[in-house]
Symmetry: C4
Subunit: 274 residues, 4 copies
């Protein structure tokens, strides 16, 4: 998977040269205009990822995306505590995997940064994490009789049944976590990461989801198609009880080898308000 | 709660200095650019609040937001009768808590101003009131088998079951109120305020809601997340009957201490059309 | 009702002087800037009405609004056959109540003009008619177990149960109408007008609705709030079977005396793309 | 049907001369400004069709529209593999009906081009094909108890029950197709075309639809109204089990003779972002 990751990643800079009207479209697939995978490039993409997820309706005033450093796998980049739609490169903070800022004078980051740090610790394959409050997954996080399941071919990356992390279970043995509904300590983040296991997505009860990827492009793509799968599954549930879900063969074949994630990314970038 | 209110409130002016592209973002949390809590400032925020609630889909051609005076708790500010999306500072009228204009030559305000005045009388802690017709709460106002309940962690401010004010109950003993479906007298407003009690939100049957806050920022935030909670609860109800709601521990812990309300406010302001 | 109509109507021109940012808002209610009720003014409003209904999601590529002449109750104005969002004053055609163009060289108008002409014949109180394909009413037009009923206080103008015109009933005795699903002859239009009776709204099975008003402002307002009531009723039906609808007292009290229709109209105009 | 096709087609160029504000609207129906049906014109329309389907919510980052050549029925035009909203005339590739590029140096086209090529082979009447992932049809593609059926009069072109192609059926005898959920070989495309038969629309399980037309205008129109019919059918299913669908008489009478498809096309073009 790492080699695919590299292929998918090394070209993101092309997105900057897109101009919708009357301009030559920078061909994805062309190696000439692919950018090197540096921290600087990842930070530029992190700004785009934040704005894309707002623009596609996955994030609103809350939620956050992060990316692991390209040069040092033991640190990751996160915006300071602020609305994701307003993030610029100047707002990015470098954190250790314990979610402590490398620069003690760095601005405050979100209290739920432990979602990111603990997943990076547990999952060396993960290069990017999205935490969102996207509305469509909420019903599946509070209705145990209806887990989120893959139904769309573009969401065949989902596991047969998406896990739901409920802090009430954790809080049973941790009185300080009772009633918080926030993943804002390292033990809570670690518990979430354990339940995530090798999956790409986990729901958080009454709260949202966490989505991981082998690149920012894949994490963003998956966050968006998790949303669309949830919308389609709700509609299918309204029709009848005989929904056909993606089966084991199909899950095994998907998704990373199927298409170039640069294609939707280019489109998401082009759709950003100018 | 008052001290938190002050902290949340004193900084709203920062919103004016936001510019989305290429500009330095005014850090929330920084005390330097926080504004004093004056009537002038509250009126400026009231204009923003009106436009925000239209932009976020809570208000349309109707509905109104008001704010209590910072200098005199016995008067409040309300736009004249007009679409909330068009309100400017020149449209703001000062009213006593009996909802009588201080200036007898002031333009006409909405007939339902008594919702605001009577709540301010009954609730000294309330500094701002929103009355909206937001679509998402309507089903919960007309389907007694399904009260609105908190399900989203960002809406854990809701009481375990949101009350529904039905003017038919009131009209039983007040023949002049029969069939009006409007809260346009002081006794109707007072009855609504009594049913609201210490809650932050009340629904009005077939009509909309009233939402209060310890600042304009909190009232706006709550009006928006009441909407999102209603949307999520409807979707969950479509999936199954085993919805997990926010429990007592969680309600006790939320919401005011959890986050800086200036963050979503800054975002709502930044999202306004230029 | 006619005197109210006049009051509501004579001021529409004010809408033209609205400018959203930084300008003085032309006060509705001020008599100084009210315009005379002339054919020229009605045609200007008809253009606005067409664009408003597109902008508010009631019309798309199809559907049409018309207005009766102010000077001659035996003719009405209708745009030529074209998408309603593109209508200008130059596109307006004058038709007799038999839906024949007064000018034999006039451009072709929509085949369903008989909806309008036959309603104007049967209802002297009606000054404007909207025919739309709005999505939200369709389910109520094809599901006999669930008629559209008033539930929103802003839609208390709806009758206790909105009639559904089904051309299959008519076609039983009119072989030429079999299978058309179009109201494109005078007898079909007359049959629809008979079923409408004194109501303000009628649904057309699998097709849309027809909405009438004592002015363009009222017809537009009602078309928009019929849409919102349908949306709310669908959501309420998804929650449970115990929906509380508007009752007889409330229907009797509504809607025309309750508010100044110029207020939502001004807002709809202000919301039009510049 | 071919003669109607010609009538509908020969005027598309008019769309280019539309200007929304203050300009003279180019009358559809006027023969003077109709353009000749050349390959150049079809390619220009193909670019518009791609952008229209994105703008109307039918396509997102994926999906594709194609058109048969006007001069050689054995080739068709398809954009290279890229987001449809970004397509320009420079991105169009000419393919044989075996879905092989005529120019061996042409850029790569989408792996699912066989949907198009195999339909063109099987259906000489088809001049244009849309393949979309539109959300609204997905539930009907995975819920066998609820096939998509015509309910809207504007969608009376749909067959009484829209077929669903499921690659699992095909894959039973083709081990290389197991788990792919993609129509990316000629045999899969041919199997889809066989199931489509003479219909205008077919669904693909968990994936989307394929929609054909006797012109780009008709294929685009049908793709959009298939979406709207699906939305209305879902809503009707939520209300009750007694939905009235379009009957045989109505299907026989519809749709092509009923209206000038240039009208919605002009509107779709006018709605494109400038």
């Amino acid at each position: 998977m790492r080699s695919f990751l590299r292929r998918a990643y090394v070209g993101i800079g092309a997105a900057f040269s897109i101009a919708l009207a009357g301009a030559v479209f920078a061909q994805s697939g062309g190696s000439a205009n692919r950018k090197a995978d540096t921290d600087e490039q990842r930070i530029a993409d992190l700004v785009l990822a934040s704005r894309i997820l707002v623009n596609e309706g996955v994030l609103d005033s809350f939620g956050h995306v992060t990316v692991r450093s390209a040069s040092d796998p033991n640190v990751y980049f996160m915006p300071r505590a602020m609305p994701p739609g307003l993030v610029t490169a100047a707002d990015i903070v470098k954190l250790t995997l314990d979610s402590v800022p490398v620069d003690p004078n760095a601005p405050r980051t979100n209290g739920e940064r432990f979602i990111h740090g603990e997943i990076y610790k547990a999952r060396p394959d993960v290069q990017a994490v999205v935490h969102s409050h996207v509305q469509s997954v909420i019903p599946f996080s509070v209705t145990p009789s209806h887990p989120l399941r893959p139904l769309l071919h573009m969401a065949a990356f989902l596991p047969a049944q998406v896990s739901v992390f409920d802090d009430r279970t954790f809080a049973k043995d941790h009185p300080d976590a009772v009633g918080k509904m926030q993943i804002n300590t390292a033990p809570l983040g670690a518990a979430l990461a354990r339940m995530l296991g090798k999956d790409p997505v986990i729901l958080i009860r009454g709260h949202g989801d966490a989505v991981v990827g082998s690149s920012l492009q894949w994490a963003v793509y998956r966050a968006i198609y998790t949303d669309r799968n949830a919308q389609a599954q709700l509609a299918a549930a309204q029709l009848g009880a005989d929904t056909i879900f993606v089966n084991d063969d199909e899950m095994r074949m998907h998704p990373v080898e199927v298409f170039d994630v640069q294609r939707p990314w280019d489109n998401f970038v082009a759709r950003l308000p100018k």
